[in-house]
Amino acid sequence: MARWGMVIDLEKCTGCQACTTACSMENSRLPGENWQDVLFYNEGEYPSGKLTWLPRPCMHCENASCVDVCPTKATYKDKDGFVLINWDLCIGCKYCMIACPYGVRFYAEEKQKTLPDVREVWPSKDGKVWDPPWAMPEHMNDPKHGVGIQPRNVVSKCTFCYHRVSKAPQGTPDLDPNDPKTREFTPACVVTCAPTARYFGDLDNPKSYVRQLIAEKCGVRLQDHTGNRPQVYYLAGEAASIPETRSTRTRKV
């Protein structure tokens, strides 16, 4: 039993989109269907306006509204804190997409925004959305946990790299990509993050570094007023700002 969570340090994040690319490669995402995306937005008015950005994975909320609304119980909260979709049960009604306050759920049957339509370039023969040449090995497809290439007409979302993290030994406090023992269990976006802005660990384990970070650097959750209680925390530090509060926050001494 763990409660996996992520900490994203916005002070370190450079908005390079390496995480987006790593996620797409790891999970064979369609172009544009970025489970992990970096949103860019303008802050302030001319002449003091500036471009800022926000990486946005699935928040794997403790009290996820998508889980509550699912009419077929296809979306569920795993005992280890993942919010996952069972593609065998999903009927593609998209209720979860409406319910999610973060907009991190995707439905692949929508109009393709990039050309060419890769679903036609690499069509699937077995009812999947597409059949890309760089897909993960067949045996790793896990529709019960929403891992792999999804079948048609289902909703998909970030799994916190369930296929990696779930193999971590019991009681591991942190999944650190720099530690050879835990690197293979670490989510793809965390492994690839060049400025090491991402941390991944067990929020319930008192020994974990993510807990320490959240406490020391005043971790903030997005849209906290919705009561979803995300398991992804953002650190603003002095240099960055978090859209939720737009206040710069510093270490409590």
């Binding site: 009604c93 409406i98 079948p151 849209q223 509060t245």
Partner: protein
């Protein structure tokens, strides 16, 4: 849904439920796609039928009365050897009797269909029989045993509800009163009642040819054969079921085809069909289409044409599961049970929204207010400044 259809297509044949004479077809069962149908379990007089993980099972309490099968809107449950709604030696104007199979055979009149239980007759079955026998009325025989029988349920005679339903439908459809089915009381002494419903095989006297055809139909998977005997012909003037994996509302189709067929013999009078109705508040609806997605039979479908989009409803396909009402995020949808519907109103448009183009992402959307699509609005909302209580503002250096 495609993979679901593939998975389900493997199980189109019916499987026996251990400990009963019931056959179950998982591909036609509603609890798999809609939560909380379970009409069969509600109909069971002894609470013997249970659903565990979407798969039905019976306890030792099962009396084999097949009331559950009668309650099933999609023919997912059927009883083996349930008599087809056909009577032999019918004389015009003289009644056809329906009798409980517990009644010793010599006590039944000559033209009788013996059913496992009078409660096991569905309205569709009764109407279908009426259609077959022409102008002979149907009489259900009340032996006064139902209240003492384990399969009896609450009412004095198990057939009360279904006979009343059929009568009401006949009245609404403008079919002459003398054709309305009725219950006649012909009490028998209670000591003659056997404990259990006689096994179906002993009950049916079949010819050699009948035996072979029965054997073949079982071997070839009862799905098709059972549909024919129960008379749910799907080839009537129905719209094509667009989505793969959608269920066929067999009971409703059986009712309506029989009703329309009977009615065609009595032209002239205005007629309404007893169909469920659904309405959507156009102002509240945001055209998410969740109702259409969760509808197990495809009665509700999304449409988009000529710069407008919305929901269309086909009352013939509705099985009254009310899943749409439960799942609407706007609570804009209202369900009304069995309303008199004019034949031209069977298929109708419930909502109509103009299609707009999002100013941010150029995607088409409909239903939602404003200029931006719901997806873009959600992303925007992530960046809205929000005042959080007890939060240090500015540089909160202690």
């Amino acid at each position: 849904m495609n993979h679901m259809a593939q998975r389900l297509s493997k199980v189109v044949s019916r499987q026996e439920i251990a400990g009963s004479s019931l056959l179950w077809q998982s591909a036609a069962c509603l609890p798999l796609s809609a939560q909380g149908c379970c009409q069969c379990a509600k109909a069971c007089p002894t609470d013997a039928l249970e659903f565990n993980g979407g798969i039905p099972s019976v306890t030792a309490q099962c009396t084999d009365c097949a009331r559950c099968a009668a309650a099933c809107p999609t023919d997912a449950l059927q009883r083996k050897h349930f008599p087809a709604p056909v009577a032999k030696n019918v004389r015009s104007g003289e009644p056809v009797f329906i009798d409980c199979s517990k009644v010793p055979r010599p006590h039944s009149p000559e033209v009788t269909i013996r059913v496992p239980c009078l409660g096991a007759i569905s309205t569709g079955w009764l109407l279908k029989l009426q259609d077959q026998i022409g102008d002979a009325p149907i009489v259900a025989l009340d032996r006064g045993w139902c209240s003492s029988c384990r399969s009896g349920g609450d009412s004095a005679c198990s057939a009360t509800n279904v006979v009343a339903d059929a009568g009401r439908m006949f009245a609404d459809a403008g079919i002459p009163l003398q054709l309305q089915p009725r219950i006649e009381r012909h009490p028998l002494r209670l000591v003659k009642m056997p404990d259990a419903i006689p096994a179906a095989v002993e009950e049916t006297l079949i010819s050699r040819r009948g035996l072979f055809s029965l054997g073949f139909s079982e071997a070839a998977g009862l799905a098709v054969g059972a549909l024919n005997t129960h008379g749910a012909s799907v080839d009537t003037a129905l719209p094509p079921l667009g989505t793969v994996g959608r269920l066929i509302p067999a009971e409703q189709i059986r009712r309506m085809t029989a009703l329309l067929s009977i009615r065609s013999r009595y032209p002239g009078s205005p007629a309404t069909l007893p169909l469920p109705a659904v309405s959507i508040e156009n102002n509240q609806c945001e055209n998410h289409g969740i109702c259409a997605a969760v509808c197990p039979t495809g009665a509700l479908v999304k449409y988009g044409d000529n710069g407008a989009a919305g929901i269309r409803f086909n009352a013939l396909l509705c099985v009254s599961c009310r899943q749409c009402e439960r799942d609407c995020p706007q609570q804009a949808i209202r369900f009304t049970a069995l309303r008199g519907t004019l034949p031209q109103d069977i298929e109708q448009e419930l909502t109509r929204h103009p299609v707009k183009v999002c100013v941010k992402c150029d995607d088409e959307f409909s239903g939602a207010p404003g200029e931006t699509c719901p997806v873009c609005r959600k992303t925007e909302a992530l960046f809205v400044r929000r005042v959080v209580a007890n939060e240090p503002s500015g540089n909160a250096v202690a």
